[in-house]
Symmetry: C2
Subunit: 334 residues, 2 copies
DNA sequence: TTGTATGCGTTATCAC
DNA sequence: GTGATAACGCATACAA
């Protein structure tokens, strides 16, 4: 590997000059610039990003922590982030937090130890206090899908409550009155917010929310399956079920079918997230769109703007969900 | 941020000694070790991985290039890799190649410029020659899902041909004789290998492969949909279709249904990959398992063993697919 | 516009 | 066992 010193030697200039043409800041005469460029060319010179980081105190790397590296939501999110960041020449270091507090802290420590200039965090288990504390240290980070009032500027979140509201409202407007709800783990903010929206829509239509029609799942297919079975077990009639994410909706649909019910004719199913899977399902799943890829891009923009002083458009901190109407919900109105 | 120098000062030893207790190589007296540890503790000292990299000429980072960061296959792959690597204290830098030669080269360059100690590559568009050439440089890398004889040691691949064979054989053994095939882009090695396996199974059963029953898709749902439509258009009867991946199988199933055919009663559908989606589908998709997460782990093991001299089990370079029987295929035998 | 000198926080090679 | 001291490859004040 050629070093900057060898380049300077070949070009017959000082190493400082080589550094200048690389970074393009101060002015260099056209002649020497060409000499240097040619030298870099023939030596196939590649600057060492490590040495550069050490000298400039900037690693040009941002750490990403997601719950899982697989899973459609995280995939879309990382995709949005990477695209944005790489075109800016920053690199992306990833780690998984597994929705576990210890593991999440561990991941954050890991990323910090790697000298990331900034962090993009999708954490669920770690406490608000921990994050507020983290914000007071020198570490810069932005939170995705989480809102903490004290550090609102560091948050990019979805209006989950509104999403839950939209889902249930759509059902209500199509004549459904008895609506079951399969929730994610209620200790997770997004899960409880979505459920709140559901209750809100119900109230708006003068319907008393029946706790027996709530079942708490785990955001996974298997959980949706089990919850649906439990719901059916209660013998309380319901014509529709809204699920707090699409995976659970898939599980719920299967459970219903296993019990001999047809979707959507016997029971309507509403999802949440609008992951790719939703269109693959049969019937195609009606759901609420969670623009997570855009939110990833936005997080990257925030970093570019606030950490690297790049010229970026203003960032929006809260995104609005939208209803996606497909085939898994039937209208009860004639 | 405290530096090693401040630690040495507080502990009353030289900075060389601090370095020794950190790296634990040579012997240090128990007393000074404790002094140093205490000093590190009170200063909340974190060694700079960057300075360490510069001095040791080892960045402890490995670059991963996949076609897309979203997509179930890549998610599972990255997940396997990250898990393995992080427990070894290595970090993972990711980039996307988008199945495009220029973009893939660009990604590789990017990763190399980032001083990765090694690369894990899932590349499709770049030529064998390029990779062979790359192997002759000082850059260490391992290929996933690609086999190049000249650099076989750098390859971890699936026996795609065998997978295609298994898929079609299962259909054959259940009485199907007229079998259509929806392929991935045939310029991709895995796609053509899978098709080869299909032909092999056909030949073994004395069936002449009808080119009119081959339709070349794009490995995406929409492509599967279009291919199925085209196949139906030919009016050539077939009782089953094997698709080169699960996404296309989803598309094919939808197309069949749109034409009023039931799956599997009117037509059987076989997938390939066994992504999570396959179990979510209705009917649940029969498919061929592609153990990509294990292959990711194996790639990580290879790196740990060959680059970092870690103690790792032997790596297997070619993985075998397995048939997964579910509900999308019907037996024609009574 | 260009060159010199110093520092970034470690590891590693010597001595002691 | 421990301590100086020289790399590592580059950025950057400061001079020229």
């Amino acid at each position: 590997m050629a070093t900057i010193y060898q380049v300077s030697e070949l070009a017959g200039v000082s190493l400082a000059t080589v550094s200048r043409v690389m970074n393009g800041g101060t002015r260099v005469s056209e002649k020497t610039r060409e000499k240097v460029n040619k030298a870099m060319e023939t030596l196939n010179y590649r600057p060492s990003s490590i040495a550069r980081s050490l000298a400039s105190n900037c690693s040009n790397s941002v750490g990403i922590l997601v719950s899982e590296l697989h899973g459609p939501i995280y995939g879309a999110m990382m995709s949005g982030i990477e695209k944005q960041l790489r075109t800016a020449g920053k690199h992306v270091i990833i780690a998984a937090g597994h929705s576990d507090a210890a593991s999440e802290k561990d991941g954050i420590e890991f990323l910090i130890a790697r000298n990331c200039d900034a962090l993009i965090l999708h954490v669920e288990a770690v406490s608000d206090e921990y994050l507020i504390e983290l914000a007071t240290t020198q570490h810069k980070f932005i939170l995705i899908n989480r809102y903490i009032p004290q550090i609102a500027d560091n948050c990019i979140s979805l209006n989950n409550r509104r999403g839950g509201y939209l889902a249930t409202k759509a059902l209500l407007e199509n004549g459904h009155r008895d609506i079951a709800y399969i929730s994610g783990p209620l200790w997770k903010m997004d899960a409880s917010d979505r459920y709140l929206g559901h209750q809100e829509a119900l109230a708006e239509h003068g319907i008393i929310c029946n706790d027996a029609l709530l079942s708490e799942g785990n955001f996974q297919e298997e959980g949706g399956n089990e919850c649906m079975l439990a719901l059916l077990e209660t013998k309380i009639p319901f014509s529709a079920v809204v699920c707090a994410n699409d995976e659970m909706a898939a599980g719920a649909m299967q459970a219903a079918r296993d019990k001999g019910m047809a979707v959507p004719n016997d029971i309507s199913v509403m999802g949440f997230d609008n992951v790719l899977l939703a269109q693959y399902m049969y019937p195609k799943l009606s759901t609420v769109n969670y623009p997570v890829q855009d939110m990833g891009k936005m997080a990257a923009s925030w970093i570019l703007k606030n950490i690297y002083q790049a010229n970026q458009p203003d960032v929006s901190h809260v995104f609005e969900p939208e209803l996606v109407w497909r085939d898994s919900v039937i209208s009860l109105k004639r």
